[in-house]
Amino acid sequence: MCDIIWCKKEVGGKPCDTINYLDPYCFWNWEGKINCAECGTVYYIHMIQGFMYKGPEEKPGEKPDTSPLYADKPYDGYSNYRPGVEGRTRPFQCIPRAKLLGVADKVKFSIRGRPVRGWRPQPPSAGLAGSFGFNWDIQKLSPEVWEEYQKKLAAGEVKDW
């Protein structure tokens, strides 16, 4: 499911009629303000378990907390704003819903203290057409994690289970 804010604000004598799509993961339990990608009108919403509990209510003059992921105008031949248009839509960055305005949980070590590639960005493959070599040479590709790993080994923090 994907909830929407259908902006009907009068702009230049006719309704804005833009559909602003809300990425469900981020808005599943969320309260805050969000802008219309077309006319910039700020709306307050409160969603609980994916249900639009309050709003959308116009909040003129206030700053939005975030932007929709995508928006389109069905009466205008479905012209649209793709994710990541500055000032209109936000980029899709896998930001966790619980920390919408923060960063994703990233890990460098598994629960037993060995390196795992759970952080970004990672170095590119250097292969052709996205192809990858069949080995993560951690010492070469992620030297800082390698060093941290050596310290963990020396401190006896690396376990079998």
């Binding site: 896998c94 795992v116 057409a129 192809s131």
Partner: protein, 471 residues
């Protein structure tokens, strides 16, 4: 064999042939099994499906899992994904927070979510926009070199693209073609499906969960069991098709509707309706055929001071089984509920709905001042089958699973340290076991391997396709 068939030689008879073998035969059975299956050394043994090459135009869990079974058994599986995007399951992760990076060179800030787990090990990951006419011949050349394909598009979609069984079997008559999807032909031929839809459509959800008058609702099984189960059943069909082909030399088409799978898992439900007109009801954590044989709630958690609510509040359930008359007597003795035994001495009386209500209520009352492990210990010591309902952490820490290799750590060649279970939870095989070589690989990781090494496409062409987003 002996030269003369009338001569019996000791070495032709069954049984040990040498002192060493005799010693082996004398091993305690458990040791013998351990040696036979040699858990942890799966990679030193042959792969049962070595030599089979399979194509996969699949997404989510159901159809990818059908092919993952082949890949774990040693088939060379080539998964074709949409360039730059990959299949949707790569972007699916529990609460959108658990990712492994990198995803693809073109998207350095994106990862593959752990939702991809278990349905994609050991596969080769290739990108191809196979629906455009420019790539059709490339797709055909893969078909010529492969044993089969699994796809999941709406019925007729691949036919529209000239990639359905009737086209592919002309190119490769030994080709096995699998369609796995929602409804298949019939009144809802274009209906798509998800696991939950299957559970609802086939009535499985209606008999899962507690009855409404006991505070329950119909429930779906949280983890998508119809997806996993349907995938496994497709794998069975593929094995049969391979065997059929060995005999006839001809490929075949398999059409597999996901929503029909839960009907198989309904047990007696439909047959009972056919015979007596009885519509089966939900009976939750208890059992309609056996009593006592269910899960009860204890009063105290095993981990009252834990931070994790799953430990703190939920470690309170125990499974109890004492449906035979003697076991039930013992259960009543140990719990001090002798009047229950006097009332329900016979199995047929106990299994009645009202009796079960009374028995389970009394048991939960008895367990109200005890913790889960106390209850399990009291009952187990009395010779009654009882087992705590474990959570993930307890499964991870379980010595049983560790010793059998069901849960184990592996050093994934690309992503590093990972705990895995899927491939090793499917039984042990002595001579040709399953194995996990890698969890998954980034999108398009094997483009060069497949396009150049397998199909002989020059690197300049591959680069050109990449720039045009054909691959």
């Amino acid at each position: 064999m002996a030269q003369d068939p009338r001569v019996t030689r000791m070495e032709d008879l069954p049984g040990p042939k040498s002192k060493g073998e005799m010693d082996e035969f004398k091993m305690p059975y458990e040791e013998y099994c351990k040696k036979l299956f040699d858990v942890g050394n799966e990679h030193t043994k042959p792969k049962p499906l070595n030599g089979i090459r399979w194509l996969s135009c699949t997404m989510y869990i159901f159809t990818p899992h059908a092919v993952a079974n082949l890949a774990e058994l040693g088939a060379e599986v080539i998964k074709l994904e949409i360039p730059r995007m990959g299949e949707p399951m790569r972007h699916t992760s529990p609460f959108n927070e658990v990712y492994l990076y990198p995803f693809h060179d073109a998207r350095p800030m994106t990862g593959t979510g752990l939702g991809y787990t278990n349905a994609n090990p050991n596969k080769y990951f290739v990108t191809m926009d196979y629906h455009i006419p420019e790539m059709r011949e490339v797709f055909y050349s893969l078909v010529k070199k492969s044993d089969g394909l699994t796809e999941l598009y709406r019925p007729g979609t691949l036919d529209k693209w000239k990639m359905s069984y009737r086209y592919l079997s002309e190119i490769n008559p030994r080709f096995i073609y699998v369609w796995g999807g929602g409804f298949g032909y019939g009144p809802k031929v274009f209906g798509g499906s998800y696991d939950i839809l299957g559970q609802a459509h086939a009535g499985l959800a209606s008999i899962t969960g507690m009855h409404e008058y006991m505070g329950g609702h119909c429930s779906k099984c949280t983890n998508w069991i119809i997806d996993w189960q349907s995938g496994t059943l497709i794998s069975c069909a593929i094995m049969s098709a391979i065997h059929h082909r060995r005999k006839t030399g001809l490929g075949t088409m398999i059409e597999f509707s996901q929503v029909q799978v839960p009907t198989r898992m309904l047990g007696h439900t439909t047959t009972m309706y056919g015979k007596f007109g009885i519509v089966r009801q939900r009976w939750g954590n208890w059992d309609t055929q056996l009593a006592v044989h269910g899960i009860i709630l204890c009063g105290k958690s095993d981990f009252p001071d834990a931070d994790n609510p799953q430990d703190k509040h939920d470690a309170r359930y125990v499974m109890v089984s004492a449906f035979q008359d003697q076991d039930f007597k013992e259960l009543c003795d140990i719990t001090g509920l002798k009047e229950l035994y006097d009332k329900y001495k016979v199995y047929k009386d106990r299994v009645e709905g009202e009796a079960q209500l009374e028995i389970y209520t009394a048991l939960e009352k008895w367990a109200a001042d005890k913790s889960r492990s106390q209850v399990a210990k009291i009952l187990t010591d009395a010779g009654i089958l009882a087992e705590p309902v474990r959570n993930d952490r307890e499964v991870y820490e379980s010595q049983h699973y560790r010793e059998r290799g069901t849960v184990r750590w592996m050093d994934d060649p690309i992503f590093g340290d990972m705990v895995v279970h899927g491939g090793y939870s499917t039984g042990l095989m002595e001579k040709s076991p399953r194995r996990i070589n890698w969890h998954w690989r980034p999108l398009g990781a094997d483009n060069k391997k497949i396009y150049r090494d397998l199909l002989g496409v020059p690197l300049t062409k591959i680069e050109e396709w990449y720039k045009k987003a054909y691959i």
